[in-house]
């Protein structure tokens, strides 16, 4: 009698576990398919007349030392190119932490970053002089 109860309990636990794992997997696939954009879809002004072949390079707009619309989330996969632009009304130095890449943007100008996504994880891009974060780069494996 006890053994039967144990067996039933064991089966229930295993069933619950598999159900949990299964629904977790499907969750993952839906989020993966629904989230392939690069995160720049938050009402940004269209990128300035940049290179004709790259219409969807996201641009982070900086006004008065703050990113317009808050810290921008940019998402990439390891191995691809990380490409984004920063335009600013004032001259700033833009620093991508971890990758340790820094570029100057002139007042009223735009600077483009283009480098391979070698490091996985979440890294900050900030205005080096002010210490203000403007973007968060997510590099998924």
């Amino acid at each position: 009698m006890r053994d039967v109860r144990k067996l039933v309990l064991a089966l229930l636990v295993v069933a619950a576990a598999i159900a949990l794992a299964a629904c977790g997997s499907s969750d993952e696939s839906t989020t993966a398919s629904g989230n392939t954009g690069s995160g720049a879809d938050s009402g940004k002004p269209a990128p300035e007349a940049g290179k004709p072949g790259s219409p969807d390079v996201p641009t982070v707009v900086v006004r008065d030392g703050e990113p317009v619309g808050g810290v921008q989330e940019l998402e990439y996969s390891a191995g691809e190119q990380i490409r984004f632009r920063v335009s600013s009304d004032k001259a700033e130095e833009i620093h991508v932490h971890g990758y340790d890449i820094a570029k100057d943007v002139p007042a009223g100008g735009t600077v483009e970053f283009d480098f391979p996504a070698e490091l996985e994880g979440i890294y900050e891009a900030e205005l080096e002089g002010l210490g203000v974060q403007i973007a968060e780069l997510r590099i998924n494996p």
């Binding site: 949990l20 969750d27 989020t31 989330e73 971890g98």
Partner: protein, 461 residues
């Protein structure tokens, strides 16, 4: 709104959240493992009896000799003093100053990690204990008698350490949040204030007494050291069965509070940017609405959420203890509460590993390259020729980090269950009742482990 707790001020990098499928598999394994733990539980305690083999007398004497003790103590005092000097005199940039990485990464994370393997490593290097003992020896030499101390109130137990742990983490993750980065100078000043407090308490209660009960770092690191394989008994070094020394740890009041504070503070640090981020943002808004400044609003809200996390974690444990009390033949609530506290030490360690393992691996590269060669961050010194080296973030892939995180939580869960099962066999000589009581602890552990997995899986930010 960009929060910058200390870890990010140092590493400017965060872990990716654990993907949903791995979260689900982790939780499933926890459930299956727990079930088998219940049904296949052993009937005799395995960790409660001391299992140890002493070192050879000569080796033991050499390692524990007075010159060796003085040497270790001097090293501890020197490094601690140097960290304070770097904090006061060095650069204000947190990531370029030796002080913050040394205190909050190398020591604060390194001692728990390595003590859990090798036993209490902090005790020989504890700078406050070294100073206290030297002062005691000086007093004896001059006065010709031992210093008189007050008797430490037994009821206080480890409570001063538990409160101190909350205070240290508060300084680390609350005071330094909301753009107001914890400056090296502030950390160094706090360390000096703490030193005055610790030495005063040692003068009142005695050096060893205070280190055993009230000195935050000794008590906290020593707790993890109970899992490790080396220890001392009767003045002799010994090798003991892993985890067996934990069974004699929770004998005084406040022990449960200490280990719960550890779990809560790690949870809070992980959740403040992920699971709790929206609630915290709302709370900050309310504080601003009633007229508080932005920094005050952030600190007040963060403090409240940290205390709420502590209350929530404590409530889960308390419910488990209440549940065990309903099993016939149970000891008193107070005895149960203290008696099962040590079973949470592996969970607390698992939380630390899951949340800080990658930070530790990356930031120790900084510790032993540019922070060692240019400790003040002046940009002009290069003591060992490594000042221009950086951190290699490719040493850990996101997948490695995820698997270590989930594995840590599962292993911590299993160890916690084992220790709890063992303790139940001591309290309930009847095997079936012991097992019945463990349904409650099982629920507590599943709650903590799945909460830990959940925190890792929530996207931050």
């Amino acid at each position: 709104m960009s929060f910058l707790p200390l870890a990010h001020a140092l590493a400017t990098r965060q872990d990716l959240p654990v993907p949903a499928w791995l979260f689900a598999w982790g939780a499933s394994i926890v459930l299956i493992v727990s079930f088998f733990a219940l049904s296949a539980g052993w009937r005799e305690p395995r960790f409660e009896q001391p299992h140890s083999r002493p070192f050879g007398a000569g080796l033991s004497r050499a390692l524990l000799s007075l010159p060796a003790q003085i040497l270790c103590g001097a090293v501890g005092v020197f490094l601690f003093g140097f960290a304070i000097y770097a904090g006061l005199e060095g650069t204000v940039a947190p990531d370029r100053n030796f002080a913050l990485t040394f205190i909050f990464v190398t020591c604060w994370l390194g001692f728990p990690f390595f003590s859990a393997i090798f036993g209490d490593l902090f005790r020989p290097f504890n700078p406050w204990r070294a100073i206290g003992r030297a002062a005691g020896a000086g007093f004896r030499a001059i006065a010709g008698q031992r210093a008189a101390h007050l008797t430490y109130p037994e009821r206080l137990g480890r409570w001063p350490a538990a409160v101190g742990l909350l205070a240290v983490v508060w300084l680390e993750v609350v005071y330094g949040s909301g753009g107001a980065i914890l400056e090296p100078e502030v950390a160094a000043t706090a360390a000096l204030v703490y030193t005055v407090y610790a030495l005063a308490m040692m003068a009142v209660f005695g050096t060893e007494e205070w280190c055993d009960r009230g000195e935050v770092f000794s008590v906290y690191f020593g707790m993890f050291g109970r899992l490790g394989i080396f220890g001392t008994r009767d003045g002799r070094l010994e090798r003991r069965r892993p985890f067996s020394a934990a069974t004699t740890w929770a004998t005084v009041p406040g022990s449960a509070a200490l280990v719960l504070a550890s779990i809560a503070t790690t949870s809070y640090d992980g959740a403040s940017e992920g699971a709790f981020a929206d609630f915290i943002e709302t709370g900050i808004g309310w504080c601003e609405d009633i007229g508080l400044g932005i920094t005050a609003s952030i600190r007040l809200t963060d403090t409240i959420f940290m205390l709420l996390t502590f209350a929530g974690v404590s409530l889960v444990y308390w419910l488990g203890v209440r549940g065990m009390r309903t099993v016939p033949g149970a000891p008193s609530l107070a005895k149960l509460r203290t008696g099962f506290a040590h079973t949470l030490i592996p969970i607390a360690l698992a939380y630390l590993v899951a949340h800080y393992f990658s930070l530790f691996v990356f930031q120790e590269q900084a510790q032993f390259t540019y922070l060692l060669s240019d400790p003040l961050g002046t940009g002009t010194t290069d003591l060992f020729g490594t000042a221009s080296s950086g951190v290699d973030y490719t040493v850990l892939t996101a997948n490695t980090i995820w698997y270590v995180q989930v594995a840590a939580l599962i292993v911590g869960h299993v160890l916690g269950l084992m220790l709890a099962h063992d303790r139940a066999l001591v309290y309930w000589p009847d095997y079936r009742r012991a097992t019945a009581s463990q349904y409650w602890m099982l629920a507590v552990m599943v709650a903590f482990t799945c909460f830990g997995l959940y925190l890792l899986s929530v996207s931050n930010g």
